[in-house]
């Protein structure tokens, strides 16, 4: 056996990020760690209690997120949540027998679309109504993003989008094109 080293590859290699045009910008924004939590039958309260002990919050309702000292929690689908920034081993130990705890840190890539036209950029790529009255800051949605399935989180000044790692190339190309298109439209629309 030789001594070997595995090197992590940045999922955004060669994708030309960050990117900006007009008043929107795009940058890589993958959470430092991402763990799926799927509580077993009747265990949601117990899971919430354990998460609070670890510096998180209670499992948020559908469409919502819960910030926390040690981790953020996002609702991510039927009976499933994502913990951002938590340590996998700690979660597995605390939630053993209470929930399926599955590492997703490498499964999804994230990027953020920010700027005053971020909502318009989303309007070219995602069918959701992203108006702040419908999707306020901290809202989480599962939806379609340029023909890909996505997790969408509302930031103060834009949106954080997670797509499966293999789709990142297309997602970034499509998002860049939407940003560039809006920038080119701006003078026509008198903005």
């Amino acid at each position: 056996m030789d001594k070997i080293t595995l090197t992590a590859r940045d999922a955004f290699t060669g994708m030309g990020l960050p990117h900006a045009a007009g008043t929107a910008s795009l940058h890589a924004d993958t959470p430092p760690s991402l763990v799926a939590i799927a509580p077993f039958a009747g265990q949601e309260s117990a899971v919430s209690a354990e998460l609070k002990k670890l510096g998180g919050g209670a499992l948020p309702a559908a469409g919502h997120s819960a910030p926390g000292k040690a981790m953020a929690l996002w609702w991510s689908g039927h009976g499933q949540w994502l913990a951002l920034g938590a340590e996998l081993g700690t979660l597995q130990a605390a939630l053993a027998g209470k929930a399926a705890v599955v590492d997703q840190s490498d499964g999804w890539g994230g990027f953020s679309i920010t700027g005053s036209v971020a909502r318009d950029v989303m309007g070219r790529l995602c069918p959701l109504d992203t108006h702040p009255g419908t999707m306020p800051t901290g809202h989480v949605a599962r939806s379609q993003f340029a023909h890909m399935m996505a997790v969408i989180y509302v930031l103060e000044d834009g949106f954080q989008v997670l797509v499966m790692r293999s789709f990142l190339k297309t997602a970034i190309e499509d998002t860049k094109r939407a940003i560039d298109t809006l920038a080119a439209e701006a003078p026509i629309r008198g903005r």
């Binding site: 056996m1 070997i4 080293t5 992590a8 023909h147 790692r165 789709f167 298109t181 920038a183 080119a184």
Partner: protein
């Protein structure tokens, strides 16, 4: 020049050049191509579809049937552009269409002389024999003779986009009703979208000399538009046609973003929007009706409302001496506007006997226009007076008005029919036909300006109540409220052809012909005569056509009924509907962890489940794919090959009932699987056919990871979620897709363990990792998973690491394999390896075959239930004559075997009744030195050793084969256990 000395909403301070049929002309900002042509005294703009009749501009909107031009040149050329909606820009190039050699001298105008023979039904009766001539001779000639513009035939160089918008209230149309509705809703704080086809908000207020609240109508409109633009909750969408009303408040809309510019400069020319609204108001106005009389299609004969629009909005006179023909007060209104602009009016011909005469114009009450003269442009009209006398009136323009048809289209897009109103002799929108959508203003038959404002406001208030918003104070401006005084007039009886549908050259006589031949129902009438087809979709002609059918059949107009209104309201370019769907935009592109490495190695690619997978890796001196493929197969059989198998679906399944759940979804038993062991698994659909296959690894007592095929990863995940949530809600199980979390590589071949042991932090052997064993390992401190499974039939492993390390691991594995006399292999080699082993893919389990058919009847465990088990046990699913999967090898002179070939007995014929099965997969086996194939053969398992033919009718290959048992290679499986 026919530009009026003053007036209009155009910018006279700037002149912009454009060209029509090669002649350079000038117009002003604010002009449409049509108004600029009229201002340049160009009145002949096109030729009709069938008879090649000279045609001019008829309308001033998207309903235009005549003034269609080719816009632009080269690849960007756009046929059938309506001059009436195309805004003028500097350098615009327009060309007339459907004429040769020129617009003034068109050879095919000879068709017009042949008109007596070319009536409705001509094609159907004439071109019947010989039958085969239709496609090869008749149709191409007819298509060449009759038609619209030409496509460039080149890829569209322009950019288009699509998008989504959401609102509380969508207001369609920005005339008085729409502006009033949007203002009330905007002030109340609703999220409003106001869309209008035109560049400028105002609708008919721009075209008429109306006063609202003491100011000019267009000034009031500009003021309201400015206030709306200042509201953050309102989005104004000029140049936007709402094209369709769909379910649940969804509307389609085409925004022409840059069609009015010489260069889009990176912006899309058009955007197709999906607008999701909670409530919608259709304030789309009304379309004026022509009147059918002999030769009513000459250049210079226009709709009266269009004449007023050209004068009042564009400052362009459609003629120097204008006659007016109407059946309502629209005639008098037109006379007043023409006189105010200083245009001579030669007569007002009013079909109503009791019509009052305006000042200063020869007036003919109770008179009708019976004919016209002037081939390339109107010269005079012939009228029959109330007393029966005939007079000829000189005129180079005739403004005609037969009343107005409310624009009900969108309210009927969900198959409702409009409702007839006798008082205005028109159809209006039915109530509640599209949930959440109401009509207001002229679209609802409210024709006066006051009524438009009032109904717009009322509709907005009702919508606000529905939305739970409070209406603020929005006073109505004072406006005219003239009643609709109209005597229906659809056509003037007499000799000569009277046009109903200008675009399709359908005349009153054609409707009579259809009636005579019993094509009476409106849908039959439409197909027989082509009334209402093509780009204008009968906006000007449909109602008149059915009114004439009503007369002929002695029924009322509503009894005759309308044809179906369908989206889109205006033509939409496929480029806009399919924006970004061209080329690589067709589907997302999924990259494997070894993507960069494979590109460096010059891989050829194929696509599976949106993944781009390396098919083979050519090396120097290899010019044909099979050379590369067979070298790669040899590496696996003799040394070690590396293949990226990340694309196979991986699903993490956990929970107290995980094992019971898997027993139910797989045909075989998974609950008896020991931890750190893997089992092959087969899933059936509920109808008993095979859905997918893969492996199931038990990582712990209540923890499994299963694999699926690449293409079925999504469907299997959806199936499992359905089973867990719907079929087995009491089972406590959770599942998470980990396909993307783990980069996974097959390491296959007799030297696979040697390679692995050079990398892993702890050595493996046959005891720690026997065949079908699995477990955690580590490489350079990175936690990984190792599975001893094999698709190739060799001693093989699959090694999984977190995806971020995939690229690094792939490079390490390939370097080590290279050193051991092996290397990367692609999908083609993988396919050959698995065919040699008789392993199935979706070429075999294509949704028609059972476990019995794939010769795995024992995979359906006896002691338990599973999805599909009952249905798979039906007698028809297990009868011995069913097609069964077997191997084939050539047994004659012809050695070629192709997938898709049909199986036929040696003395049979390759006809449907004698098909015994088909070849699912075929390849040349470098290991065996001859072609091999997998095939379904009826009762095949009992026919091992028989001969049969594989006939590829497409390729013309007929191969005598021997049926052989599977697998072809290493039937004892000794190589697997290594």
């Amino acid at each position: 020049m026919s530009r009026l000395p003053k007036g209009g909403l155009i910018d006279r301070s700037r002149s912009i050049p454009f060209s029509f049929d090669g002649a350079t002309l000038t117009g002003h900002p604010g002009d449409t191509l049509a108004s600029a042509l009229l201002a340049n005294d160009v009145r002949l703009v096109g030729r009709s579809f069938k008879y090649h009749r000279p045609r001019g501009i008829l309308s001033a909107g998207s309903e235009e049937p005549n003034a269609l031009v080719e816009l632009g040149e080269g690849a960007a050329r756009l046929p059938n552009t309506r001059a009436t909606t195309q805004e003028l820009f500097a350098g615009l190039v327009a060309t007339s269409q459907n004429r040769w050699p020129s617009l003034k001298r068109d050879i095919l105008a000879v068709n017009d002389l042949m008109a007596p023979f070319f009536g409705a039904g001509f094609y159907y009766k004439t071109f019947m024999w010989p039958k085969r001539f239709w496609e090869s001779v008749y149709e191409p000639i007819i298509r060449r003779a009759a038609g619209l513009g030409r496509l460039s035939g080149l890829p569209d160089p322009d950019h288009y986009d699509k998008g989504f918008l959401h609102c509380d209230l969508l207001v369609i149309g920005a005339g008085p009703a729409g502006l009033m509705a949007a203002l009330a809703a905007g002030r109340a704080g609703a999220r409003v979208i106001l869309a209008d086809e035109a560049a400028q908000m105002g609708g008919r207020l721009l075209a008429e000399r109306l006063e609202l609240g003491g100011s000019a109508g267009h000034e009031w409109a500009a003021g309201v538009a400015a206030e709306l633009a200042s509201l953050p909750n309102v989005r104004l969408m000029p140049r936007t046609a709402v094209t369709g009303a769909y379910d649940h408040g969804a509307f389609g809309a085409l925004e022409r973003v840059a069609d009015h510019l010489a260069a889009a400069r990176g912006a899309p020319r058009q955007i197709f929007w999906r607008i999701q609204s909670r409530r919608a108001i259709l304030a789309g106005g009304a379309i004026e009706r022509p009147i059918a009389f002999a030769n009513n299609d000459r250049p210079g004969i226009m709709l009266a409302g269009a004449v007023r629009r050209y004068i009042n909005q564009y400052g362009a006179a459609p003629g120097a001496r204008v006659a007016v023909f109407a059946n309502s007060d629209e005639g008098a209104r037109s006379v007043v506007d023409l006189q105010a602009a200083g245009v001579e009016v030669t007569a007002l011909i009013d079909a109503r006997p009791d019509a009052k005469a305006p000042d200063g114009v020869p007036h003919f009450a109770g008179a009708l226009v019976t004919n016209t003269r002037g081939r390339l442009g109107l010269k005079s009209v012939t009228i029959r007076t109330a007393s029966g006398g005939v007079e000829t009136i000189a005129a180079d323009c005739l403004a005609m008005s037969g009343g107005w048809n409310p624009n009900v289209h969108l309210t009927c897009h969900q198959n409702a029919r409009p409702v007839w109103r006798d008082d205005i002799a028109a159809f209006v929108a039915p109530d509640g036909a599209v949930p959440g959508l109401v009509a207001a203003g002229a679209a609802a038959g409210a024709f006066s300006t006051h009524a438009a404002l009032q109904t717009g406001l009322d509709a907005a208030k009702a919508a606000l109540t529905d939305l739970g918003l409070k209406s603020g104070k929005t006073p109505l401006p004072k406006a005219e409220d003239a009643p609709c005084d109209l005597t229906p007039l659809w056509h003037v009886a007499g000799k000569g052809r009277a046009w109903l549908d200008f675009q399709n050259d359908v005349t009153v006589k054609d409707v009579k012909q259809a009636h005579a031949e019993n094509f009476i129902p409106v849908e039959h009438l439409k197909r027989y005569t082509t009334l209402g087809m093509a780009t204008d979709q009968g906006k000007l002609s449909n109602i008149a056509g059915l009114a004439i059918m009503a007369e002929l059949t002695g029924r009322s107009i509503p009894e005759v009924g309308t044809t179906t209104y369908r989206p889109p309201y205006v033509p939409v370019q496929i480029a806009a509907l399919g924006a970004h769907g061209e080329g690589q935009g067709f589907a997302p592109h999924r990259q494997t962890p070894s993507d960069a490495l494979s590109r460096e190695r010059g891989a050829s690619w194929l696509e599976a489940g949106l993944w781009h997978r390396a098919a083979w890796y050519p090396q120097t001196g290899e010019s044909f794919w099979r050379q590369s493929c067979e070298r790669e197969v040899g590496w696996v059989r003799n040394a070690v090959g590396i293949c990226d198998v990340t694309t196979l679906g991986k699903i993490d399944i956990q929970g107290p009932d995980a094992a019971a759940f898997l027993d139910f979804v797989y045909t075989n038993t998974m609950s008896t699987l020991k931890p750190n062991r893997v089992r092959y698994g087969l899933m059936l659909r509920e109808d008993g056919t095979v859905m997918d296959d893969g492996t199931c690894a038990r990582l712990g007592a209540a923890h499994f990871v299963i694999t699926t095929t690449t293409a079925a990863a999504g469907p299997v995940m959806a199936h499992l979620e359905f089973v867990a949530q719907v079929l087995c809600p009491r089972l406590d199980v959770q599942m998470v897709s980990v396909t993307e979390q783990w980069a996974q590589f097959a390491i296959a071949g007799p030297k696979s363990r040697e390679l692995l042991n050079g990398l892993l932090d702890a050595q493996v052997d046959n005891d720690s990792f026997p065949y079908m064993g699995c477990g955690p390992v580590s490489l350079g401190g990175v936690a990984a998973r190792l599975f001893r499974i094999s698709f190739s039939g060799e001693h093989a492993y699959e090694l999984a690491v977190p995806a971020r390390y995939g690229d690094s691991l792939a490079r390490l594995l390939v370097a080590r394999a290279d050193a051991l006399g092996g290397g990367l292999y692609g999908m083609e080699a993988l396919n050959v390896l698995r065919i040699e082993k008789g392993h199935i893919t979706h070429a075999e389990i294509d949704g028609r075959y059972s476990a019995f058919d794939i010769s795995m009847p024992r995979m359906v465990a006896a002691g338990k239930d599973c999805i599909g088990k009952a249905m798979a046990a039906r007698p028809g699913m297990v009868e011995p004559a069913r097609p069964q999967l077997v191997g084939l090898k050539p047994a004659g002179v012809v050695k070629h075997l192709k997938a898709g070939a049909i199986m036929v007995e040696v003395d049979g014929a390759p006809v449907r009744e004698q098909i015994k099965g088909h070849v699912t997969s075929a390849c040349f086996s470098p290991t065996l030195g001859h072609p091999i194939a997998l095939a379904y053969v009826a009762g095949g398992v009992a026919r091992i050793g028989d001969t049969i033919r594989a006939v590829d009718l497409l390729g013309g290959v007929d191969t005598l084969c021997e049926i052989v048992a599977l697998p072809f290679y290493d039937p004892e499986g000794g190589r697997l256990r290594g």
